[in-house]
Amino acid sequence: MTLLAWGFDGLLLLGLLGLAWKALNSTDLFSAIALFIAFGLLMALVWVRLEAPDIALAEAAIGAGLSGALLLAALARLRGMEGNVTSNTGVEEAPNNIDARLVQWLSAILLLPVLFGLVYGVLSLPGNAVGLSAEINANLAASGVSNPVTAVLLNFRAYDTLLEVFVLLLALIAIWSMGSIQFNRSIETIGKTSLETTSSVLDTLVYLLVPVLMMVAAYLLWVGAHAPGGAFQAGSVLAAACVLLLLAGWPLHRLLTAMRLRLLAVAGPVVFVSMAAYSLIAEGALLQFPPEHAGTLILLLETVAALSIAVTLAALFSGGQGQHE
C-alpha cells in the first residue's frame, strides 16, 4: 500500500464523512439535499475504489441521481404548500434551544458505546476474507453470464431479485394508494411557466440527451452479461430520461393512460413470476434456468425488468399523479 494510495483513501473517506456530517447538520434544507447528492457521487467514487463498478453505476444513477431528484421534488412540493404550511418547512435552522441541545448530547452519549461495539466487532474479524467467490467462479460457466454480479443477481440468487422487483411495485402501489397529491402542480410550474420563454434550450437538451440516454440504457442492458451493467442500472438510466421528459413539461401521463402505465409497471414482476413458475414445472426447481440458454432467458428477463423498473421509478418521481383512472 503505497503512501499515495493511503493518501487517496484517507482523502476519500474524510471527504465522505465530512460531506455526510455537513449534509445532515446543515442549516438549510436545500443545501442539505445538494450536499447529499454530492455525497452520493462521492459514494460512487468509493465503489469504484473498492472495485465494484456495478454498484458505482447503480449508486450514481439511483443513489445520487434519482434519490436526489426525488428529494428536490419533495422539497419543491413542500415549499409549494407554503401557503398553508407553517414556515418551518422552508428554511429551517438547526434548533438550538435548550432541550434540543440536551437531546443532541444525550443521543451522542448513547451512541458512543454503540459505535465502539460496532468498531470492536468489525476489527475482531479475521484478516482474510471468507466469501463465496470460489463457489461463484466454479459455477459461473453454468450461469449463462460471465459478469459474476449479474450471475449472482439473476441466477444464483434470482429469488432475491424477484422479491426485489416486487418491492419496487409495492412502493408504486403504496404511493398510488395514498391518493393523488393535489399540489403536484408545483412540479409542472417549474417545468412550464418559469421556462416558457426559454423552453427551446430545454427542448434541445431533451432532443439531444434522451436518445443518447436510451442508447446508453440499451448498451448497459446488453453489456450486463459480461461487464458491469444490468437491468437495474439500465432501468435507472431510462428512468432518468423519463424524469427529464417530465421536467421538460412533456405530458407523459397523457401519453400513457393509467392502464397502460399499470401494465408496463407490472410487466417485470409478471414475467419474473411466470418464468419462476415455468421453471418450477419444467426444470423441477424454482427459477432454475437450463444452462444452455440461461443467457438468453436472463437477457429477456432483464429487458422486461429494466422497462418496468424505469416506468416505476418515473412514476415514483411523479408521486401518484398518473394513477387516476
Partner: protein, 100 residues
C-alpha cells in the same frame, strides 16, 4: 517513444488540473451567481477536455478513447444547458448581476 507519450499525458493532466483549480478558485472568490457560473462552466470544461486528452493517450484501444470523448461531449452539453437554466432561474428570482 513510450516515455514521450507518458510525458505528454502527464503535461496535459497537469494543465487540466490547473484549469480545474482556476474554476474552483473562481467559484469561491466571485461575488454573485452569474460570475460563478462563468468560472465553473468555462474553466472546468476546458480542464476536463485536457484531462480527457491526457487519458485518451493512455487508453489501450480506440473504443475506450471514443468513450472518453463522448463523456466530454455529454458534459459539455449538460454544463451549457444547466448553467443557462440556473442563470435564467436566478434572473426570474430577481437576483441582479453584480456591479462593482
Amino acid at each position: 517513444m513510450i516515455a514521450v507519450i507518458d510525458l505528454f499525458s502527464v503535461l496535459l493532466l497537469i494543465a487540466g488540473a490547473v484549469f480545474f483549480l482556476a474554476g474552483t478558485l473562481g467559484l469561491l472568490r466571485f461575488p454573485d451567481v452569474y460570475t460563478r457560473l462563468h468560472a465553473l462552466t468555462k474553466a472546468d470544461n476546458v480542464g476536463l477536455g485536457l484531462i480527457i486528452a491526457g487519458l485518451a493517450l493512455q487508453a489501450e484501444s480506440w473504443a475506450v478513447a471514443g468513450k472518453l470523448v463522448l463523456i466530454w461531449l455529454l458534459v459539455l452539453l449538460a454544463g451549457a444547458s444547466v448553467s443557462y437554466l440556473v442563470a435564467n432561474g436566478a434572473l426570474k428570482r430577481g437576483i441582479r448581476p453584480w456591479k462593482s
